[in-house]
C-alpha cells in the first residue's frame, strides 16, 4: 500500500474517532430511554406521593407485583420484536392457558401439576402454530397473530362454557396446598425475612402481628430471572446474535447461514410460554381462571417493549429495557392511586408515554444507522 493511501486512511480514521464519543455511545443503548423514564417516574411519585405509603414495603411490593406481571410477558414480546415480529395473541393466550390449568384440574380430576404442564405444552403448540404460519406464508405477523387473538379468545370462551356452563372456573386454591410445583408460581419468597423485619418494627404489621407485606411475590422473581436470562441470551449466546440478525435483515441473515425460520418460530413459542407463566401466576394467586383474563395484555406488553427501546421494525432492543418499560407501567398504574389525580387519566399518560418512546427510539435508530 502506498504512503499516499495510508495517509488517506489515517485521515478517515480521525474522522471516525471524532464520531464515537462516550456520551454518544451511551445514547445509542436501547434501554437508556426506559431507564431515564423510570428514574423520572420515581422522582415524580417521590415528590407527589412520597409520604402516602406508596414506597412502604407493602406499597413497593404492590407496584412491583403489577410491574412484574407485565414484565414477564413484556420480555417475551421484546425478544420477539427484536426478532422482527409481533405477537398480538399474548393476551388471549393468557386466558386460554388459565382455563387449560383450571378445567383439567377441577373438572377432570387431574393433579394440578399435570394441568400446569398441559398448559405449557399447549403454549408451545400455539406458539409453534403462530410461528410456522408467519414463516411459511410470509404474511405479516400482525395479521396472523391478530387472527390467533380472536381464535384463542373465542375458543377459550366456547370451551369453558361448553364444559363448565359458565365463564369462570373457581376452586383452585385448595389444590395448591399439596402440589409439588404450584409453589413456583404462587408462593411468597423471603417471608421469614419479612416476619423478622416486622418484629423489628421496620415494616408495617397487621392487627395480629404478622407483617402487612408477607414476602416478595414469585412473579417478581420470575420477572428478574427472565430479564437476566433473556439478556444473557441476547448478549452472550449465538442464538442471541441470530435473533438480532433475523430481525435486522432476514434475507442477509439467511444468506450467511442463520436459521431464520427456526429462530422466529422459537421466539413465538417464547411469547406463548411467557403468557402461560403469567397465567400460572394469576390463576394460582386468584385461585380461579376467567375466560377474560389477559384481555388487552398483548398491547401492554408491546407498550412496555417499545418504551424499553425495542424498534417495531426489529433488530434492535433489549430485555432490560422491556423490564424497565414494565416497571414504568406498573409504577404509574399503581402510583396514580396514591395521588390526587383521577385514575381515569392513566391511559392518557400511557399513550403519551408510548408516543414519546417511539419518537425517541426512531431518533436513536437514525443515529445508529446513519451513514456519514
Amino acid at each position: 500500500m502506498s504512503t499516499k493511501s495510508q495517509s488517506i486512511d489515517r485521515k478517515s480514521q480521525d474522522e471516525r474517532l471524532r464520531r464515537v464519543s462516550k456520551l454518544k455511545k451511551l445514547l445509542n443503548r436501547p434501554e437508556l430511554g426506559a431507564l431515564g423514564g423510570s428514574i423520572l417516574v420515581f422522582i415524580f411519585f417521590g415528590i407527589i406521593a412520597g409520604d402516602s405509603g406508596m414506597f412502604s414495603a407493602y406499597g413497593t411490593l404492590n407496584f412491583l407485583e403489577v410491574s412484574s406481571n407485565l414484565g414477564i410477558i413484556a420480555i417475551g414480546a421484546a425478544m420477539l420484536m427484536i426478532g422482527g415480529e409481533f405477537d398480538l395473541s399474548v393476551g388471549s393466550m393468557i386466558g386460554f392457558a388459565g382455563i387449560c390449568i383450571a378445567i383439567p384440574a377441577i373438572y377432570w380430576g387431574w393433579p394440578l401439576w399435570s394441568s400446569i404442564l398441559f398448559a405449557f405444552s399447549m403454549a408451545v403448540l400455539i406458539g409453534y402454530a403462530n410461528g410456522i404460519l408467519v414463516v411459511r406464508t410470509g404474511l405479516p405477523s400482525f395479521i396472523v397473530t391478530l387472527a390467533m387473538l380472536f381464535i384463542l379468545r373465542g375458543a377459550t370462551l366456547a370451551l369453558t362454557r361448553l364444559i363448565t356452563g359458565r365463564t369462570q372456573v373457581p376452586g383452585l386454591r385448595v389444590l395448591i396446598e399439596n402440589d409439588p410445583i404450584a409453589w413456583i408460581f404462587s408462593a411468597d419468597v423471603f417471608s421469614g425475612l419479612f416476619v423478622w423485619l416486622g418484629s423489628l418494627g421496620l415494616i408495617a404489621l397487621r392487627q395480629d402481628g404478622t407483617p402487612l407485606a408477607t414476602g416478595i411475590p414469585t412473579s417478581v422473581i420470575w420477572w428478574i430471572g427472565l430479564t437476566i436470562f433473556a439478556t444473557w441470551i441476547l448478549m452472550k449466546t449465538r442464538y442471541g446474535n441470530w435473533i438480532f440478525a433475523s430481525g435486522g435483515d432476514k434475507l442477509g441473515a439467511r444468506n450467511v447461514g442463520v436459521p431464520v425460520a427456526r429462530v422466529k418460530i422459537s421466539l413465538f413459542i417464547g411469547t406463548a410460554v411467557c403468557a402461560t407463566i403469567y397465567a400460572c401466576v394469576q390463576v394460582l394467586d386468584a385461585g380461579s381462571a376467567d375466560t377474560m383474563r389477559g384481555f388487552l395484555k398483548e398491547l401492554e406488553a408491546i407498550v412496555a417493549a417499545v418504551v424499553g427501546g425495542c424498534l417495531l421494525t426489529g433488530g434492535y432492543g433489549s430485555a432490560i429495557g422491556a423490564a424497565f418499560g414494565a416497571l414504568i407501567f406498573g409504577t404509574v398504574s399503581m402510583g396514580i392511586y396514591y395521588t390526587d389525580v383521577d385514575t381515569d387519566w392513566f391511559k392518557v399518560f400511557l399513550g403519551a408515554m408510548m408516543l414519546i418512546a417511539v419518537i425517541f427510539n426512531n431518533f436513536v435508530r437514525r443515529r445508529v444507522t446513519e451513514n456519514k
Binding site: D9, K25, M235, G240, G252, V258, V368, N371
Partner: protein, 267 residues
Amino acid sequence: MSTDIIVEFNNISKFFGSVIALKDVTMHVKKGEIMCLLGDNGAGKSTLIKTLSGVHKPNEGEIIVEGKKTTFDSPRDALDLGIATVYQDLALVSLMSVTRNFFMGREPMKGFGLFKVFDIEKANAVAAERMGQIGIDVRDPSQAVGTMSGGERQCLAISRAIYFGAKVLILDEPTSALGVHQASVVLKYIVKAASEGLGVILITHNVHHAYPVGDRFTILNRGKSMGTYPKKDLSREKLLSMMAGGEELDKLEVELKEMDRISKSNN
C-alpha cells in the same frame, strides 16, 4: 496449468419453464486470478451467480471443484467447498455491530454444554484485526455497521468471506453503489485478495472498474457466453463495445443514417 484451476463450470444451462436463462456457459477460475464476468442488464448475470453459488441447480452442465465433479444442493454446499458469494446486499445488518456482523451465523463459542457462550472478546479482536489488515481501523468493533461507508461495508463482507475459508470469491457488483474513491479502495482490496491466492469471480457491468483489475474477461449476452478473453487479447475499447452490444449500436447507427437519408430525399 490445470492444477491451478479451482472451479470449472462446463456448459452450464439453466431454464425457467420455457425461458432459457443460461445456455452452455463455460468458465473457470484459477488460483490468484481475477476473472471478470461482464454483461448488460438481462444478460443472465444474476442467474449465473445464483447457479455458481448453489441457489439454483443447473439443468445441464457440470461443476468441477478442484478436479472433482460435484453438485450444489444449497448455498451451504458451495460454501463448504470454499466458494463464497458476496451479494449486492452484502448480508450485513446495519443495526448490528461490526463484530456481530462479521461472525453472524458462525459465532465463535467458548465454554461447555449448556453454558456455551458467544466468545465476544475473541470475536471483537478478530474483527478489529481483520479490518485493520485492509486499512480500515475499527477502533470500536461494537460500533454499528450502519455508521460505516459503503466501501467499508463491502470490504467487511469480503473480509468475512475470506476469514471463513473462501477459496473462490464470487463478488456481485461490488462497486456499483460506490463513488470513485470508495470503488478504488474496494478494487485494491480485491487485487490484494487475489494476490494472496484466492480465485475471484468479479461480476460487474462497469468496464472501467473491471478492466484495470481483471486477468480474464468473460462476456455474457442474452444467456450465452460470448467467449473468454485474456487481457492481452482485449483492448478496453473492444471490451466496451462488446459489453454495450457494439454490433447493435453499429446497426442502430446504420439505421439512423438510413432514416436521415430518406427524410432528406423526401424534402
